[in-house]
């Protein structure tokens, strides 16, 4: 059997690794557009800061592909799938034979249709090239606007301030990430920006315009918009919805952190079902049984698309199990991490489904966590510099261990013993 995996992000590389680990001894080819398969989370953190180089964030060391008998085709894209002929077409026209194809093409950073968004000073962040270009703009004193205060926007803002930039972070939402983290923790995290001297603006961007001095962004606020941080916190009263908070400001660089767009073009032209992601079943199979899809670009019909590292890795393991006809690893509660302003944040489960929130420790402590309960069971946890709490919570969620709110909220009570019941 011949398998071609299109895309060498964590989903594609995990698929290949799990196939070989599971005993697949057929022909295995991995095609990736990049210089070599590398990891994305450091692109907004250490790689952007310049403390890690590309080869340090390789998903596998270079010799691994030979050792595993994987044909790696770098700096090349898959141009088309021809499932009916059992072939995959590479850019340049070369045809590879494939009995099964795994689409692991991830996606691209979203670029909303804001006037002027195509300018040279406007950046997105999805690839190492994006990070290199952005890094060159993050010089000390550079006036930087980050649009979007979600995960990637917050990380970029934090890295940019570390690099000495003068940062403005704009988001129309009052408390970004409130659904994923719970209102209080999200608000606390968002306030870290202002404490580090970042100006946070509750506003969206209406347009960009090149000026002789930089790029001018005009903001559209909600009913209120505040410029906090910097030297003196300032609040602007705005006449009403849709009115600019501060008419406009000029920046040296703009970074858009407003989400990703799944790469579905290959699937669409091959006639597969696509709806905000390549649609797959529980075994990652698309509407054509010869094609599987994994990672950020795929979505099960029942659920939303998940855009986190570990979910992509699990998708790869599941796709491999489907191909091998073995049992897929048991599903676990979703998990992701993010780092900003020197704090390591982890989240497991679905905080938005909680009907009760318990704080373990205090927001002033060096580390603390928040547990989300529903009907007396732990359904989510989020922690700052306390990975163990999230690891324990994940097991409580997966094993449906009844929660004891008193012990959960007591930082001196061991979560490990709580887990044992």
């Amino acid at each position: 059997m011949r398998i071609v995996v299109a895309g060498g992000g964590v989903a594609g590389v995990s698929t290949v690794a799990a196939l070989r680990a599971g005993g697949f001894d057929g022909d295995l080819t991995l095609v990736d557009a990049g210089e070599f398969p590398y990891d994305r989370p450091p692109l907004s953190k250490e790689y952007l800061a310049g403390s890690r180089e590309l080869k340090q964030i390789a998903l596998q060391p270079p010799h691994w592909y030979d050792e595993q008998g994987v044909r790696l085709i770098n700096e090349c894209t898959v141009a088309a799938l021809h499932p009916a002929d059992g072939t995959v077409e590479l850019a340049g026209g070369l045809l590879l034979r494939a009995d099964r194809v795994v689409l692991a093409t991830g996606g691209g950073a979203a670029r909303p249709p804001i006037p002027g968004v195509g300018g040279d000073r406007v950046h997105v962040l999805r690839t190492a090239e994006d990070a290199d270009r952005l890094r060159a703009a993050l010089t000390p004193g550079a006036r930087v606007l980050v649009v979007g205060a979600g995960l990637i926007g917050a990380e970029v803002a934090s890295t940019a301030v570390d690099l000495g930039c003068d940062v403005v972070l704009a988001d129309p939402v009052a408390t970004p990430l409130a659904a994923a983290l719970g209102e209080d923790l999200a608000a606390w995290l968002h306030r870290l920006h202002a404490r580090r001297g970042i100006t946070t603006v509750r506003a969206g961007v209406a347009s960009f315009a090149e000026t002789t001095d930089g790029i001018e962004a005009s903001f559209v606020g909600g009913a209120e918009a505040s410029f906090a941080g910097g030297v003196e916190p300032r609040t602007f009263d705005v006449a009403g919805p849709g009115v600019a908070a501060e008419p406009s400001r000029v920046f040296d660089a703009v970074v858009l952190g407003v989400g990703m767009t799944p790469q579905t073009a290959l699937a669409e032209s091959a006639g597969l079902d696509v709806d905000r992601g390549v649609l797959v079943d529980a075994g990652q199979i698309t509407s054509n049984p010869a094609v599987l899809a994994v990672g950020d670009g795929a979505r099960t019909r029942q659920g939303p698309r998940v855009e986190h590292w570990e979910a992509a890795r699990h998708d790869g393991a599941r796709a491999a199990a489907t191909i091998l006809g073995t049992r897929a690893p048991a599903p676990t509660a979703p998990w992701f991490w993010t780092d900003r302003h020197g704090r390591h944040v982890e989240v497991a489960g679905h905080m938005e489904t909680a009907d009760e929130v318990i704080v373990r420790g205090s927001f002033d402590d060096p580390s603390f966590s928040v547990f989300g309960l529903r009907d007396g069971l732990v359904v989510a946890a989020a922690a700052v510099d306390d990975s163990t709490a999230v690891r324990a919570a994940r097991r409580m969620i997966d094993r449906r261990v009844p929660a004891d709110p008193a012990r959960l909220s007591d930082p001196s009570a061991s979560l490990r013993t709580l887990l044992r019941g």
Partner: protein
Amino acid sequence: MTQGIRVAALDDIPEGEGVAIDKAITGTADDIALLRDTDGSVWALDDTCTHEDASLADGWVEDGYVECPLHSSKFCLKNGEVQGLPATRSTCPHRVEVRDGEVYLFPNQAP
């Protein structure tokens, strides 16, 4: 050093957890993580995760593996083998013996 170095009392290491032993004591290149599995057995691995620089002694120890506290890579307690991304390199195991409730470490010796 056939006797090994006494580095901890067994009771100092709760099941499922680890403690880091300073390289000044062990004479090794890296600190060593003493890790106590859920079955009570004790193991030793180089402390620094091969992915970035988290301390495996702060990790989650369970069923023969330690899970890195930062990005969840798992390492086999017996032989240090890495079980999954993002770490790609195995870590170095060291021999440990428990005698009379005391933990003795044999740095750089195979378990």
